[in-house]
Amino acid sequence: MQSTSGYHSRWIWVVYLCLFVIAVPWYWPADSRQILFGFPLWVVVSIATSFVISCYTAWLFLTRWPEDSEEEGE
């Protein structure tokens, strides 16, 4: 297994976990009525974090795709 490419590194998934913990609106008070750009604030935060997740995912695909290897004799 390569160490500088591929998706086995636990740090990749730790970052994902942190991002999803922010993106899922579990921590907002039930009556949160703050508005930002015309949308409920929790919606803006959720969507903005989703965008960050998308960027992170795209970056991972483009930079960490494992090179074709002959590691297995299959």
């Binding site: 998706y7 999803f20 750009f37 969507i47 995912t57 795209a58 695909f61």
Partner: protein
């Protein structure tokens, strides 16, 4: 018919030309065919490059359900449906777990169906059969849903008797799909996806513009919602929140395991095309799913009285009717959106059809019945299977529409994600961990499947443990997956190491 958006002759001619162009592409696909082989028919030979791959992934994954179903859902529960944006991204993330290695193996060993990988990895006939059965069942239900959506789209388009319009719509669109698919196989499907994907993308852009044009600023929408339906604008909690997480996990894993998606991993010409295609797909939920959600929320805020409580799938129709009534240009835009919807449904349906056909032909016919059949024979069988499938399922779709009640088997097959997710350990863990063994994997898959499906009969009001699980907000498939993992991973770890015989 208050739900219809009637069109003049011009509109129907436009749709007619659009549909005929798909057959034209099917014919082009036939001409590009190199040989009569399963590889050529089901994967387009050497495969497709980045742009075609991206558009076929997009058009295949985003069905009529995204435009019609999601707008309806967000009209019902409001902003809480933003979970859909996240689970669509989660599906793309799941590909990191197995796509690179699977693509490499597929190119090296010439995989055509997902079961080809299972066979290569585990060498267990029982596992092959179970895997194929799960995928065919899940995809069969999925294809049925696309056919039903086709009928509904035509039903809404015309002012004819609903049942008749539905039946003719299903038959007509299914026939066109079958023709271009028989002609050009995967090439026809992928190339028509380029057109349908582009029209779909255009449809979402138009929808986005229309939201602002029809309903004004988002602030107005939010204010109105907080006024008359605050639960649609406030943060989700309790059951709704658990469901958010449930969908992330269930769809995130199961959505990546759709056979036609796995076959697109195989069909990528190179790893470069695949990685770029998947990178592009990471952004599609924000461009497409989010737009659908905003439409539903806007309609719920501004036109709540027009939403039919029993069937809020008409949330989109409510908005489109309003736009079409304003001006001829509005009518043109609505026509484009309807073309996009039909395209979305057909592009999803044709991949499902091709995929089921490939599995029945390669994994069942060649795998079990006639292992020595030639490629030419198999291709013919494949086409025959497609014809039987379309005839059979079209009939079933029309029959079910006219039925008063529901058929248990059909409802059972509606648990397609709960079924598909049982394949996750085999594909996502088995592809990396050599220690994963056939017998525990097979057992885990079977137990997970049976356990999940058995929930169908568990009463939600009961006092038992299973009833509690059923109403927990988490799908049975996730509980089944837990069992599945314990057996497949635990069992593989505990069993003595086997010699791998090549």
């Amino acid at each position: 018919m208050t739900d219809s958006v009637p069109f003049g002759t011009g509109g129907l001619v436009f749709i007619g030309v659009y549909l005929l162009s798909l057959i034209g592409i099917g014919w082009l696909g036939k001409r590009a065919s190199r040989e009569k082989s399963l590889r050529d028919f089901y994967l387009g030979g050497k495969g497709v490059g980045f742009l075609v791959l991206w558009l076929t992934l997009f058009a295949t994954q985003y069905s009529g359900n995204t435009i019609i179903g999601f707008t309806g859902k967000s009209a019902r529960i409001g902003f809480a449906w933003i979970t859909a944006v996240q689970f669509m991204i989660a599906i793309v993330i799941s590909y990191q777990l197995f796509a690179p290695r699977l693509h490499q193996l597929a190119k090296k060993h010439g995989f055509i169906t997902p079961t080809d990988y299972l066979n290569h990895r585990f060498r267990s006939r029982a596992l092959n059969l179970l895997g194929t059965a799960i995928m065919v069942a899940a995809l069969g239900n999925f294809f049925l849903a696309q056919l039903t959506a086709m009928g509904r789209a035509v039903e809404g388009l015309t002012t004819y008797d609903a049942e008749q319009a539905f039946a003719y719509g299903v038959i007509g669109l299914a026939a066109i799909m079958l023709i271009y698919e028989l002609l050009g196989g995967f090439r026809a499907v992928a190339w028509t996806d380029v057109i349908q994907g582009s029209v779909l993308a255009l449809g979402f852009v138009i929808l986005l513009v229309l939201i602002f044009q029809q309903f004004g600023s988002p602030g107005e929408t939010t204010r109105k919602l907080l006024e008359h339906s605050p639960e649609k604008a406030l943060p989700p909690e309790g059951q709704l929140l658990r469901q958010w997480i449930n969908f992330l996990l269930l769809f995130g894993f199961a959505g990546a395991l759709y056979p036609q998606a796995i076959q697109r991993i195989y069909a990528a010409k190179s790893s470069g095309a695949l990685r770029k295609g998947l990178a592009a797909m990471s952004f599609m939920p924000l461009c497409a799913t989010l737009v659908a959600i905003l439409v539903g929320v806007a309609v719920a805020a501004h036109l709540p009285d027009q939403l039919d409580g029993a069937n809020s799938d008409t949330a989109l129709t409510v908005m489109l009717r309003q736009v079409a009534a304003e001006s001829w240009f509005g009518g043109l835009l609505v026509l484009l959106i309807l073309a996009a919807i039909i395209g979305a449904i057909m592009s999803t349906g044709d991949s499902a059809l091709l995929s089921i056909s490939s599995m029945l032909t390669k994994d069942i016919y060649q795998g079990v019945i006639s292992p020595d059949a030639s490629q030419k024979q198999l291709t013919l069988v494949g086409k025959g299977v497609s014809i039987v499938l379309v005839f059979g399922l079209t009939w079933l779709t029309i029959y079910l529409d006219q039925l008063e009640g529901e058929i248990t088997l059909v409802q059972l097959l509606g648990m397609k994600f709960d079924m598909l997710i049982q394949l996750a350990p085999a594909f996502m863990i088995g592809i990396h961990w050599k220690g994963m063994k056939p017998l525990p994997t097979l057992l885990g898959m079977a137990v997970g499947l049976v356990f999940s499906l058995s929930f169908f009969w568990v009463p939600p009001e009961g006092a038992g443990f299973l009833s509690t699980l059923k109403t927990s907000g988490f799908n049975p498939g996730l509980y089944g997956l837990l069992l599945n993992l314990v057996i497949s991973v635990g069992g593989s770890w505990l069993l003595p190491k086997q010699e791998i015989v090549e």
